[in-house]
């Protein structure tokens, strides 16, 4: 069947020479977008579950407080402690910490500061209410109880 003679000159295979480049592009994308945790969490963090979660839009306005039982029980004891930035602080230091966090924001955003309280589910309400009292003193009244989603029944 000479009529359907194979056309010569065109290659049959897809060139895969650019494949590594494509994969590297993806790799670089993920490497760049990955934010490595810059601070070590010193307290236990098993967040409670909730259904009515809301998301905050402006991440720059959020400051984090971690509350829970210290991981290093031998040094810090078993009572719940508060971690701000990368150190454990006492309840009385919260006002100072809030003011430092407020200073990082621009002037017109200071009153919109939101404290995200990442609290371990084992903590009792006593320490929480102490923290809330200090936050009221510091005039940082927007509070987010960090929680993970739960399947709604």
């Amino acid at each position: 069947m000479a009529k359907f003679k194979k056309k010569t000159g065109t290659s049959q295979s897809i060139p895969t020479a650019a494949l590594p480049d494509i994969i590297f592009m993806l790799l670089f994308f993920f490497m760049v977008t990955t934010v490595l945790r810059e601070q070590e969490i010193l307290v236990e963090q098993k967040l409670p579950q909730a259904t009515q979660l809301q998301k905050l839009e402006k991440k720059t306005l959020i400051s984090y407080l971690y509350i829970g039982k210290p991981k290093n029980v031998a040094v810090f004891g078993t009572e719940p402690r508060i971690q701000a930035n990368d150190v454990l602080i006492g309840t009385k230091d919260i006002v100072l910490w809030v003011n430092q966090e407020k200073d990082k924001l621009s002037e017109n955003e200071r009153d919109q500061i939101t404290i995200s309280m990442k609290t371990d589910r084992e903590v009792k309400m006593g320490p929480i209410s102490d923290v809330q009292f200090e936050l009221r003193e510091a005039d940082a009244r927007k509070l987010l109880y960090a929680a993970v989603g739960k399947v709604q029944n």
Binding site: L27, P48, Q54, S116, R121, G126, I128, R136, K142, L143
Partner: protein, 213 residues
């Protein structure tokens, strides 16, 4: 002069480069944790002036939905012992939308509600007067020994009652309503229309000190 070996290719074999890159890619995919800032929003009351006594707010007992939690995480809702929080959000919805003694403004609000919410109004004189400001308030009182998990579970149910009312008013599901960001004017309008006239009146009392730490 060493003679060039004829058959051998001069290039480095780059065929496995893609595999190596894939391995790295999968490593980063697995280790990346996208930080999520999700949670339950709460606005704390302004700080109290120590020289001024706390303002006396006259509210009738029928306008307050009392939730008490003790140090053993046991619930007392409106004077009755409750085992679990499953029915709590429905009770709160009934309480908010009771319209026991509405004034003129709240009658207008009542008429603006969709029929499904209007059905909820039982007009029970022993429950809340109306959901507007000065009307229904949900009060949560914990003990210092109450677990945070229980507290959040209850706050979650109270919020759920409000969000379901808001969402139903604008014809969305509760999930859709909570996902609204208010960035565009259309979304902002939806949020405002859901909330209008029914403020989220959740009062969180200072925990009492008995039995806690």
């Amino acid at each position: 002069m060493a003679r060039k070996k004829g058959r051998l290719s001069q290039e480095v074999n780059a065929g496995s480069m893609a595999d190596i890159a894939f391995l790295l890619l999968i490593f980063f995919l697995v280790t990346t944790t996208i930080a999520s800032d999700k949670g339950i929003l709460n606005i704390l009351p302004p700080k109290q002036d120590p020289n001024q006594p706390p303002p006396e707010i006259k509210l009738n007992e029928r306008n307050i939905f009392n939730i008490l939690v003790n140090a053993n995480d046991q619930l007392l809702v409106e004077g009755e012992y409750l085992d679990n929080t499953l029915s709590l959000s429905n009770d709160i919805k009934d309480f908010i939308l009771n319209f026991g003694a509405p004034d003129e403004e709240s009658i207008a609000l009542f008429n603006s509600l969709p029929a499904s919410l209007r059905e909820k109004a039982k007009r029970d004189p022993s429950s809340s007067d109306h959901p507007m400001a000065g009307g229904a308030v949900v009060s949560i009182k914990t003990n210092r020994g109450t677990s945070y998990e229980k507290y959040l579970e209850i706050l979650d149910q109270v919020k759920r009652a409000y969000f379901e009312i808001y969402a139903e008013r604008v014809g969305l599901t509760s999930d859709q309503y909570r996902a609204l960001t208010g960035k565009t004017p259309a979304e902002k309008e939806l949020i405002d229309r859901g909330k209008e006239g029914i403020p989220m009146a959740i009062s969180i009392a200072e925990p009492d000190k008995i039995g806690g730490n």
